[in-house]
Amino acid sequence: MPFNQPYGVRSFYAPGHDQGPKAVPAIVGRGPSSFAAYAAAGGFRALQRLQNGETTPVAVLKQILASGLRGCGGSHLPLVKKWEAAIPHKPRYLVVNGMEGEPDTFKDYLLLRDYPQIVLEGIALACRVLHIREACLVLNSAYGECRAALQAVLNENAALFDGLDIQLVDGPEVDLYVAGEESALLNYLEGQRAEPRLKPPFPHEQGLWGKPTIINNVETLSWLPLLLVRPELFAGRHPKLVTLLGDVAEPGIYEITLGEPLPEILQRARADDLSFVEIGGISGGLIPATLTNVDYDDEALAPLGVQVGSGTLRVFNTSRDPLAEMAAAIAFFKTESCGRCTPCRVGTQELAKFAAALRDTPLSNTDLNWVHSVAHTLQQTSTCGLGRAAPAPLLTWLHHFGKKPHD
């Protein structure tokens, strides 16, 4: 797999740009962690079993597909769907998405930094059961510090990774949200402008260099060794890492169970002064404290207009202004739109204008109808998830914080 990608990113910036890499604060893992326990016990157990012939790739694949594991990159779709669609195409490449472009999200970073061996064990397991020989792990360029340890794991355990070509690839030199979109990532790896591709064809049909490709998130694959060695973790439940930041006493990465009451999750980080919380990252929405008494899973969150998404929870205290936070989120999408398709390129500009005007313009019914038309068009016709998700912060704000329109 040759990689050559300078143009793929530089084309997104005007000459002399001042954009830097993603800013990474001091991140700690807190609370009980299955990853910590597995690493302390030495790890590699699942891969060794496969290597020793204690089990077969077919049996392991069955176990994985039956586990209910979901994509942890933000889609939350069952992994079985992605893999079962891909298997008949005989996937050639595995691309592991370690871009973690979502702002304020660092769960993949924690795994890459603190548990490189588990990340790579998960990648190797996926390769073995899917009969893929070539894989690449794309690291956000801000996570460069993790690279040496990852490479060391590969070098020191050559026998376990025998026959696999796992490459570590640096992501874009600057923070580029859209490059984390799976088909944009493929363009990046091919040295093209890192903008999303039209689907279909889906990556599992025509992916990297036109070959069937599976793209999975770092966290998703990191759960593989654990679900094989400790199946009880996935017995009728689904563990998940969440990034809990903002106005809390103990920010960090927590391992939770999907469906746990949200107040209990927030309390672990000691969110003592809670005014509202952003659920599901920047493409999620702001939810007032009075409505946070729900279970933390997609089903219970849906009526509020938000999702688990990347598992990001950002807490805001009473000194914060939801309107300003919402406008910042919309402005983010406006800047990050790759500009490929009309609905997103223009629609995000229109939403940003609207969000900025909300501060001093009272809302009329005409305004409201227009903004819903714009939002609907973005959701219905945008090429990729960025454009489809862009209206969410504004829509949830209107729903939970907006005043009734006049006229």
């Binding site: 398709c341 609905p343 500009q349 204008k353 227009w370």
Partner: protein, 201 residues
């Protein structure tokens, strides 16, 4: 042959045909803007959006390939509404209908769109000029990608920047055409529907 329903009519199609091709053959007119027969469909304008039963989103007719038993609506309320908003987007991005080419204005007329409800400021108006054989006027460009498709073999043309600052570049870094693979074939100018590209005398 594949059987599918378009606007409740049973129709036959060959495998690999797009919904646009099949509909056109049936005499059903789906408006298009970025599509041009013979060029790779990039489906960026989304004006050709149609409703397909069982799909949560509208699909671009110009690149969606027929499947057995599809049920397609080409002129439902939902599609008409989306097309109108998209056209308003294009008009808004250009500060009005007047600067758009006659071809684009004609499209607008068929949809009954004469102006946009909001006007955005077109921020990027730097004209690429100089000694080049091709002139590019960003304020006219509707980002239909036709020139990118037309220049597929040489790959001279690409997009640069993002969001509102979007524009086209020739060569990786706006290099003079003479330093790119440009063969001066003029294909990009020939396919441009907006007048953004023109040959310099």
């Amino acid at each position: 042959m594949i059987s599918l329903k378009i606007n409740k009519q049973l129709v036959q199609a060959k495998p690999g045909q797009t919904l646009l091709q099949v509909a056109t053959k049936q005499g059903i007119e789906i408006p298009t803007l970025c599509h041009l027969p013979g060029l790779e469909a990039r489906s960026v304008c989304r004006i050709c959006s149609v409703e397909v039963k069982g799909q949560s989103r509208l699909l671009p007719a110009c690149s969606t390939v027929v499947e057995p038993n599809m049920e397609v609506e080409t002129h439902s309320q939902k599609t008409l509404h989306a097309r109108q908003v998209l056209l308003e987007f294009i008009i808004a991005e250009h500060g009005g209908l007047a600067t758009l080419s006659p071809q684009v204005r004609a499209y607008a007329q068929t949809l009954g769109v004469t102006e946009a409800r909001f006007y955005l400021q077109q921020s990027n108006t730097a004209v690429r000029n100089g000694s080049d054989y091709i002139r590019y006027q960003p304020d006219k460009c509707i980002h239909c990608d036709r020139c990118i498709s037309a220049c597929r073999d040489q790959r001279v043309i690409n997009r640069a920047n993002r969001g509102a600052a979007i524009r086209l570049t020739f060569g990786a870094n706006d290099t003079p055409l003479a330093q790119t693979n440009c063969s001066s074939c003029g294909d990009c100018v020939a396919v441009c529907p907006s007048g953004a590209l023109s040959e310099q005398g």
